[in-house]
Amino acid sequence: MTGLAAMADVAGLLEVVGQPFMQRALLGGLLTGALGGLLGSFAVLRQLSFFSDALGHSALLGISLGILLGINPTLVLIPFAVLFALLVNQLVARSGLPADALLNIVYSTSLAFAVVALSLVETYRGGIQQLLFGDILGISWSDLTVIAVLLMGALIYLALSLRAQVLLTLNSDLAGAFGVGASRHRLAFIVLLAVVVAVSIKAVGVLLISAFVVIPACGGRLVSRHFPLYALISACLGGGCALLGLLGSGLTNLPSGPCVVIVQFAGFLLALLVSKTTRCSPAGVCLHSGRQP
């Protein structure tokens, strides 16, 4: 009986996968996950993971303002996120307060304003649930195009500026002395992160967006010692886990966004296990071993 039930589930999954909305969702998950992993690999090293969380929460305020003003929230979201990121960046740079405390103030306040703004709207067609946890099944071809273009743009920019990004992460004075336009690259990365967060919100949701940025990057960091490989593994982990999570969601009929994050967490645990059981030779070749490197 159990075998029959499983076969029925797989048959049901195949049927769902055959649906255009699910194909769009899978592609969207793959692209969004890869984008989050790629940007996350730099954001985590720059200690900007909390910044992406604050951006995600502020996105809810952007959406709320769009609804209140009667403008399509998607159109409001990107400029709002960029403006918000630039303002917060200035605030962190000029206030002299610890960044984590300041970001906490910013994101909890923007969340409070967003909830108040939403309470002023009698009914919101999209539903608060979809804002919080995303609606990847509702992703359109135009959304996919935007995400794909963004992924390509991010890939090209980060590949061309890899030296600058790494030196900036290590020491901004070192970067500046060796000819890196530190403030220009720092600003460009923050804007890119804001745009990625804003574009991914529809698929991932306000509450889960930081998981897309942070978890694959931390997993990638555990298993790679070469920087380009680290960024690649983080992007693959992000995309692969999103794909598996969506398939799992289709199989179990559970919410898609949380399923993806749970699979990402499983991927992180796997990376942790791999990092504990591999030993790397001086030549960088990693072998299975019972000892920690």
């Binding site: 290590l170 004075d173 890196v180 960091r221 010692r225």
Partner: protein, 263 residues
């Protein structure tokens, strides 16, 4: 401009940090292939001066010329001149498991400033990295993560980062901070050797007056203003040290080599 301009020419430089002037009306120049130490108490403005010279901090007034080229208001320099400058900071922001190997890092020292895919590598780059690692005794560290290195190893790798392509001016901001005495000694010996081989002009911020007395050609004593300058024996005399650091600083000589220092 003369045919052979100084590597670094600073005139009337003032640097503001917040409301106050951290550096005020400082002028000096560095001749080719000389080693100059910048000394002074904490808060004297040494790092601010270095930051302004490298174009990392804005200048309140004054001019800076590097290899005969004026530093722009926002630190602009022709790319070819910028490529002649190397800088060693006190430390790097290396968190655990930082995914960057020594070889990759030194390779970034070889790559030109600006957007490029040079990190993908070529034979010339790979050979330059290997040679730089060999010269600094780091060839066995090439595949190690930067975050796995000891303090002394990291400083040698930073020197490899500087020596991986020819440069003329090397600026060190308390590069020996955090090193124990033997590591500091080894670092200084390696620096001296590379300086001679490469013909570097060196400007180094240091608190190690014994090392300064032994290794440097010129000393600049800074406490917001330039208090004195000259050869080590002149600039680091007891009277000048007392003037710079206060009367409680007593110069002493180490028994093992009889070279002066301060306590």
């Amino acid at each position: 401009m003369t045919d052979n301009p100084p590597v670094l020419l600073v005139e009337g430089l003032s640097v503001r940090r917040g409301e106050q002037l951290a550096v005020e009306q400082v002028s000096f120049q560095l001749a080719r292939e000389t080693d100059t130490a910048l000394v002074g108490p904490n808060g004297a403005g040494k790092s601010s001066l270095v930051g302004a010279v490298l174009g990392l901090l804005p200048r309140a007034s004054g001019t800076v010329q590097i290899l005969g080229h004026a530093l722009g208001p926002a630190g602009e320099l022709p790319r070819a001149v910028r490529a002649q400058i190397a800088y060693l900071p006190q430390s790097l922001a290396l968190q655990g498991r930082f995914p960057l190997t020594v070889g990759e890092f030194v390779g970034f020292g070889f790559d030109p400033p600006g957007l490029s895919l040079a990190w993908l590598g070529c034979r010339r780059r790979s050979e330059a990295v290997q040679f730089a690692l060999k010269r600094t005794g780091c060839q066995d560290l090439a595949q190690r993560r930067l975050s796995e290195l000891s303090g002394g190893q990291l400083k040698r790798v930073l020197l490899a980062f500087c020596v991986v392509r020819p440069r003329q001016l090397l600026v060190l901001d308390e590069a020996q901070a955090g090193l124990d005495a033997p590591s500091s000694e080894q670092f200084q010996e390696l620096l001296l050797e590379l300086r001679r081989q490469e013909g570097w002009t060196v400007l180094q911020v240091s608190h190690d007056l014994e090392m300064v007395r032994r290794s440097c050609d010129l000393v600049l004593c800074l406490n917001r203003r330039l208090r004195c300058s000259g050869a080590p024996d002149h600039a680091l005399s007891a009277a000048r040290l007392a003037e710079l650091y206060g009367p409680n600083v007593v110069p002493y000589r180490h028994q093992h080599d009889g070279v002066g220092g301060h306590g």
